[in-house]
Structures are given as C-alpha cells and as structure tokens.
C-alpha cells in the first residue's frame, strides 16, 4: 500500500482540524452561558458553565479516577462489538438463509431498551465490570452489523467474479474483495458503535455499579448536584469524542486507498 508519513501529517491535522472544534466548543460554552442569562434558565434546571468548569477543576482527580472503569468497559464492549459484529455481518451477507433467520432476530433484540433489561445482567453477572461490558456490547453491536452487511453487499460483482475466477475459496474471495470493499462502511458502523458503547457502559453503571462516571452521575442526581452531573456529562462526551477520533485515525491508517482520503492529491470540488 502507499507509504505514509504520519508524523508531520498527524501533527498538522491536530493543529488544523482539531483545534477548530475546541474553539467552537468555547463558542458553545459562551452561548450556553448567554442563553442561561438571557432566558433566565434557573440553576436548578441547567447549571451555569462556570460552575461546571469549577467542578471539573476541583473534582478533577476524582472524576479522572472514576472515568477509568467507564473507559475500560466502553472499550471492551466496543471491541466485542467489532469482534462479533463483523463475522455476523459476513454470515448475513454471505447467505440469504442466515439473513432471513438471523437479521430479524437481531433487530428484534435491538429494539428493546437496554435500560429495561440491564438489571437482569446485574442479577446474573453481579456488580462488577461484566454487566457494563455487556451493556456496551449490546448497544454497539447492531450498527456494526448493519453497516458491514451493507458494505459486504455493495461490492462490485465483477470484482468478486475476478477473484472467483482465480479459484479463490469463498473465504479468500471474501477477504480479498468483499472485506476491503466493506471497510469504509464498517468503519462508519464502528464510529456509531463506539459512541453508543459509551452510552451502554454508562447505562450499565446506572443500573448497578460502585464506580464509574455513571455512578458519579447517579449520585449527583440524588443530591441534586447539577454541576457535578453536567461535569460527568462533559467527561462522557469527551470520552466519546476521543474514542471516535481514535477510530477515525485507525480508519485513515487502514484504508489510505479510499477515495475519501484522496483530497490531498486531487483537486476536490
């Protein structure tokens, strides 16, 4: 594949493309603050951003400590989604029979709100990390499957024929043609999946856990401590953004050949 010089490109990206959203974030905070003042939104509904920042500053070590378990559960759940989602999608895309049996059931299981069944996980798996991971996995799984199925099915039949004509086994053809073709779609599924995995982990923590950001959140809801709750929300959101960004970077590394990455070479409209 084409060689990359990620060093300078990466740092440039960071400067160019990733400072801007933070600038924008500052704007958002300003708008938040202004609208609170303007519409007189009382502090017991939405706290002022300054209070939240204050909490973030003073409670930083505690919040950081609590965000590890959440991160860990999210990442595990996400990796499981990828690990199971892609093969399941392969099976679904590969066989009409599997599709007609399995797909509706996946959908079936997916439309059930996790928050309603999560308590059962606690009953079965205790108060440890497992129910959180399962919850993150269950939320993250489906988008990967759907996107991957679409990707696998969109491949040019002529390319499949090409590989088939070389007497590649079904699996080899899959690996050489369908899989790379589907990678962009798979990554779009993974991106949705990783943010949902954050939500899943937190829902798991809501339902039963002694640590994690979800625990912090629930505690602050109980004490009506809105600044802490919003601080926890901010941390969750940051966690989501960082994980999303990591997936995006990995995508750029794995599919340098894809059209969406040509901008530096050809003149884009």
């Amino acid at each position: 594949m084409a060689e990359l010089k990620p060093q300078s490109a990466l740092s440039k990206m960071l400067n160019a493309a990733w400072v801007r959203p933070f600038l924008f974030l500052v704007c958002i905070v300003v708008v938040w603050d202004l609208s609170i003042r303007l519409f007189r939104i009382p502090a017991y509904q939405i706290p002022s951003p300054l209070d939240v920042v204050a909490v973030l500053r003073t409670e930083w070590p505690e919040l950081l400590r609590q965000s590890w378990p959440t991160t860990y559960a999210t990442v595990c759940g996400f990796l499981l989604s990828a690990l199971f989602g892609i093969p399941v999608a392969m099976l679904i895309a590969g066989s009409k029979t599997v599709e007609s049996y399995v797909y509706p059931l996946l959908v079936f299981s997916q439309s059930v709100p996790k928050i309603a069944i999560a308590p059962l996980f606690v009953v079965w798996f205790g108060f440890g990390i497992i129910p959180k991971v399962i919850s993150a996995f269950l939320l993250g799984f489906f988008p990967v499957v759907v996107s991957a199925v679409q990707g696998f099915k969109s491949v040019d039949p002529d390319m499949v024929d090409l590989a088939r004509a070389m007497q590649g086994s079904r699996f080899q053809v899959f690996r050489a043609v369908n899989l790379p073709h589907a990678l962009p779609a798979i990554f779009s599924g993974l991106k949705v999946s990783v943010t949902l995995a954050v939500v899943g982990a937190v829902v798991g923590e809501f339902v039963g856990s002694n640590s994690g950001i979800g625990y912090v959140m629930q505690r602050s809801i109980g004490t009506f401590d809105l600044p802490t709750m919003f601080a926890a929300l901010v941390i969750l959101a940051l966690l989501g953004v960082i994980l999303f960004w990591i997936v995006d970077r990995i995508e750029k590394l794995i599919i340098p050949w894809h059209v969406s990455q040509r901008e530096d070479v050809i003149f884009a409209s």
Partner: protein, 272 residues
C-alpha cells in the same frame, strides 16, 4: 434464429477428444426484470489444446458473455461446456483471465494486484514476486509497482491486468480485448510478447479482439460471430507459419484473410 444460416465453417482442423475446450449447444439468455435478453444462440465449437483461438464479432454480440461462460462464472442457459474433459459449472482449473475493463482492486497497489492470483491460489508469494515484477517491466510499468490503480492511465491499468492474468503461468488464457486501450506501438509489442509466451509455454489462448489484423496475426483459428444474439458466422484457419514476425502482415495470405473477415462485418451490417 437459424444459426446454420450464417455458418460457414472453413476450419478443417480435427477436433480433439478430451483435451481443450469444447462447447456443445451452449446458449445464453440473460433474464432481466423487463424481459429476457438473448445474448448467444446455441454455439458448437472446439478449441484445441495449445491453440491460439481468436474471437471477433460486432459489439454486443456476446463475446464477453462467451468468455464468462467458458470461465465458469456464468451458467449457460442451454448446452454444456467441457474444459479438458470436465464439465464446467464453477470457475475451474488453471486459467488466467483478462476482463474487458481492467478491474484492478482499488485497495491493492499495482504489484499486489498482479499478485492477486497467487494469493487466491495460496501459492508461495516469494517465488512469484520476481516473476510479477519482471512481467510489469515487460509491459513497461517498471516504477509503478507501488502506485494505486487510480494513479495509472487507462492503458497502464490494462497492461497491469494482463500481467495479473499471466503471473501464475496458467495453462489456459481467456482474454477479453486486452489491448483495446493501447497505442499502436505498445499494442504490437504486446502482440509479439503474447505470441512468444504462448509458443514457449504451449498455452491454450482464447482472445477477443476488435482488430481483425491483430486477430489474423495472432490466431491459429479465428471465430467470427454474427450480430446479437451471437452465433458462429465462420471459423477460419490461419495457415501462416510460426514463428511469425510483424512482417507476415505483408503476406498476401494475411491480407486476403483480413479482407475476408472484414467482409463478414460489412455484409451483415445494415450500413446506411
């Protein structure tokens, strides 16, 4: 619908038994949402082992379809195809195919695209790497090994796809207009190279082309097809001695055969 009406079989070469490629009563009709598209009328012919067999015919007459049928990628609507005595149902045997469009995989660089058959057949990569590189050099793509397909010109892509069909040294080559996007010089050079390779390795080659001189220059036999739905209009033996050089193009046998094949096109065409 009377295939016999067009058939003028000039070939007198004896048909082998179990070797080569044998088509009997093979026809193809594509089924589409808005009706059937008949593409090939029943075909019967035989390609001998080690023969250079060239197909010419008007655009849309079913040449590419024929190639896909023989390669086992499409099932025939009627009839059966035997390759080396075995009935074709799926992709089979030791075949190298050049498709009409280059069909390079966008996620592999040129070298890896050429190496695709090696990966598919699980042959030892190292052994074939040099061969792939020397083939690329042969077709003038040295220095483009690491480029991605879209960074190549149309003709360069086509040359890469020819390398891909040759890299695993298959016994049978099926080539669908492999030189269509090449300039005159490169094309003649490639013709000469292909002929040399065929002669040296005794490959069976089925080549589709639009250039009648090219057909006569390369072929042992030339199959001329009728307009869609395609049928056999004629099969001509090319009685030119081998090895041939580009000079045979001046040979009266050559020019006469080219003229004869041209007539097929111009007589059946409804030229206004």
């Amino acid at each position: 619908m009377q295939p016999a009406a067009h058939l003028r079989l000039v070939s007198d070469r004896a048909a082998g038994d179990a070797s080569g490629i044998k088509l009997s009563g093979v026809s193809k009709t594509y089924r589409t949402r808005d009706g059937d598209v008949p593409s090939l009328r029943p075909l019967d012919f035989h390609i001998n082992d080690g023969e250079f067999f060239v197909v010419v015919g008007p655009s849309g007459c079913g040449k590419s379809t024929l190639l896909k049928l023989i390669s086992g990628l499409l099932p025939p609507t009627t009839g059966e195809i035997l390759v080396e005595g075995e009935k074709v149902t799926t992709p089979h045997g030791n075949v190298g195919i050049v498709f009409q469009n280059a069909l390079l995989l966008p996620w592999r660089n040129i070298l890896n695209n050429v190496m695709l058959p090696i990966d598919m057949k699980r042959l030892p990569r190292q052994e074939y790497l040099d061969r792939a590189k020397s083939l690329l050099k042969l077709v003038g793509l040295e220095g483009f090994e690491k480029k991605l397909p879209w960074q190549l010109s149309g003709g360069m892509q086509q040359r890469a796809s020819i390398c891909r069909a040759l890299v695993h040294d298959p016994r049978i080559m099926l080539m669908d207009e492999p030189f269509g996007a090449l300039d005159a010089l490169t094309r003649e050079r490639m013709n000469v190279e292909l002929m040399r390779i065929q002669r040296e390795t005794k490959k069976t080659v089925l080549l589709i082309t639009h250039s009648i001189p090219e057909a006569v220059f390369l072929a042992d036999r030339v199959l001329v097809m009728t307009e869609r739905p395609g049928a056999v209009a004629a099969i001509y033996d090319v009685p030119l001695p081998r090895p041939r050089s580009l000079d045979v193009m001046a040979d009266p046998v050559f020019t006469e055969l080219v003229q004869r094949i041209r007539k097929h096109f111009f007589s059946q065409g409804s030229l206004d």
